[in-house]
């Protein structure tokens, strides 16, 4: 049986990873910290619903994502954009992703990726998620997960090539 103190200690140990995931959603450090704090507060309120047999990080990621969707919906409603789908709420508008990435070139290649591409890549590459798990967490089709991860890698390859061109 997990005690509240054990639960909190484990949660604090996860903070760097929770902030990284939150950053993949918000692209803003202050917003990410707000989001993580709200998610931790929400988790502490319902900690007795947490099944210790399940990884705490997965549970926390889901809470963070749901809170972010809720926050974006509120902002968009406030801005008069009306109701939007969950998928739309988590995506940035990236009309010309390749051009945006090329502009940033050498520094921060991963952070220059469009958020809809970097997020699944981070979950697979850094968090060890399967495509199915990413699909379930982000609520996008598994084929979309596969194509977005591929596209993210291709954009990084392109950025690496530009870096080599600059060096030579």
């Amino acid at each position: 049986m997990t005690t509240p103190e054990q639960f909190k200690t484990e949660m604090i140990g996860l903070l760097p990873r929770l902030r990284r995931f939150a950053m993949s959603l918000t692209r803003s450090a202050p917003d990410a910290d707000d989001l993580v704090q709200d998610a931790c507060a929400a988790a502490l309120q319902k900690w007795h619903h947490y099944d210790p047999a399940q990884p705490l990080d997965r549970w926390m990621f889901r809470i963070i994502r749901n809170l972010w969707i809720s926050e974006i919906r509120k902002r968009q409603v406030r801005q008069g954009q009306g109701h939007v789908s969950a998928e739309e709420t988590t995506e940035l508008q990236t009309a010309d992703a390749d051009e945006a990435l090329a502009a940033k070139q050498v520094q921060g290649k991963v952070s220059a990726l469009p958020v809809e591409l970097s997020r699944p890549l981070m979950l697979v590459c850094a968090e060890g998620y399967s495509y199915l798990e990413v699909s379930q967490l982000l609520e996008i089709p598994i084929g979309t997960v596969m194509s977005r991860i591929h596209r993210a890698r291709k954009l990084l390859i392109s950025a690496l090539g530009q870096e080599e061109d600059i060096v030579t």
């Binding site: 509240p4 639960f7 909190k8 949660m11 604090i12 140990g13 996860l14 903070l15 760097p16 990873r17 902030r19 990284r20 950053m23 450090a29 202050p30 910290d33 707000d34 993580v36 704090q37 709200d38 931790c40 507060a41 502490l44 309120q45 900690w47 007795h48 921060g108 290649k109 991963v110 952070s111 890549l121 981070m122 697979v124 590459c125 850094a126 968090e127 060890g128 399967s130 495509y131 596969m146 194509s147 991860i149 591929h150 993210a152 890698r153 291709k154 990084l156 390859i157 690496l160």
Partner: protein, 261 residues
């Protein structure tokens, strides 16, 4: 090529069906262009992993960790404006008022700079393994030092990183052998050394970092779960030396290991 490239990307993640993976295996042996595409995808992946891991090094605001420690469980905590708490004034107040308490509560997770250390996935896993195996006497290793040639071949192939076993006898460290671990979902080679007083120091390596130079790796130090870590990346692999907390010579041991591994 796009469709093949997409499949190669999924192949890299182990997400293809067995039959498709076998088809790719065969193709890679006969098609240099396919192999080159896979190599490029792997390079991109290594770059991404390194940069995502670097995000874990960002300092976590102490106020955020303290907020969790001080929040009541099971009752609605004050929602307030998180942005306000994140503001300089509130964070400063929280730090001064609760710093002492927070420091005690977080003593195993706070870096000397006063920030919560990054509990990186693979380092955290390695800390757990070290806690279990370092206390072992007869079963410290899976393959003993007497079988070093086999160990290098087996672990090198499994992890996907070529390496040599560093001679750390200058630090009174005797190579005892090695183990295969799994951290953050990837295989890890663990080389175990023991000092005369029984202190166990381990060198662990895992593929996944982007290229760099062996001659001048950037060393980083952390304390996780009571163990000290010195880690670096070079030539497509990540390395870490782990030992008991408060070991003043760990950085020198890591430097020697980096030169010889």
């Amino acid at each position: 090529m796009t469709d093949l490239s997409t499949k190669l990307s999924a192949y890299l993640d182990g997400e293809l069906e067995a039959a498709d993976a076998q088809t790719i295996d065969a193709l890679l042996e006969s098609d240099p262009a396919a192999q080159a595409e896979l190599d490029a995808l792997m390079a991109a992946d290594a770059l991404a992993c390194e940069q995502f891991d670097a995000l874990l090094m960002d300092p976590v605001p102490l106020a955020l960790a303290h907020k969790i420690k001080s929040s009541p469980v099971g009752s609605p905590p004050p929602r307030g404006s998180a942005r306000l708490i994140g503001s300089a004034l509130a964070a400063g107040l929280a730090f001064f008022v609760f710093g002492g308490i927070g420091g005690y509560l977080l003593k195993d997770q706070i870096a000397p700079s006063g920030t919560v250390v990054a509990n990186s996935g693979w380092l955290s896993d390695i800390a757990d393994y070290h806690a279990v195996y370092a206390s072992q006497q007869r079963h410290l290793v899976e393959v003993p030092a007497e079988e070093s040639a086999h160990l290098v071949k087996w672990l090198g192939e499994t992890v996907g990183v070529e390496f040599s076993i560093p001679d750390l006898s200058d630090f009174d460290l005797t190579f005892e052998g090695g183990r295969l671990l799994v951290a953050a979902g990837k295989p890890v080679a663990q080389l175990m050394y023991r000092q005369p007083d029984g202190t166990v120091i381990a060198l662990c390596l895992q593929s996944g970092a982007s290229g760099g130079t062996v001659s001048a790796p950037g060393f980083k130090e952390q304390t996780i779960k009571g163990f000290d870590f010195v880690w670096w990346s070079s030539n497509g692999a990540k390395y870490v030396v782990i030992g008991p907390g408060g070991n003043p010579g760990l950085a020198e041991i890591a430097a020697q290991a980096a030169r010889e591994v």
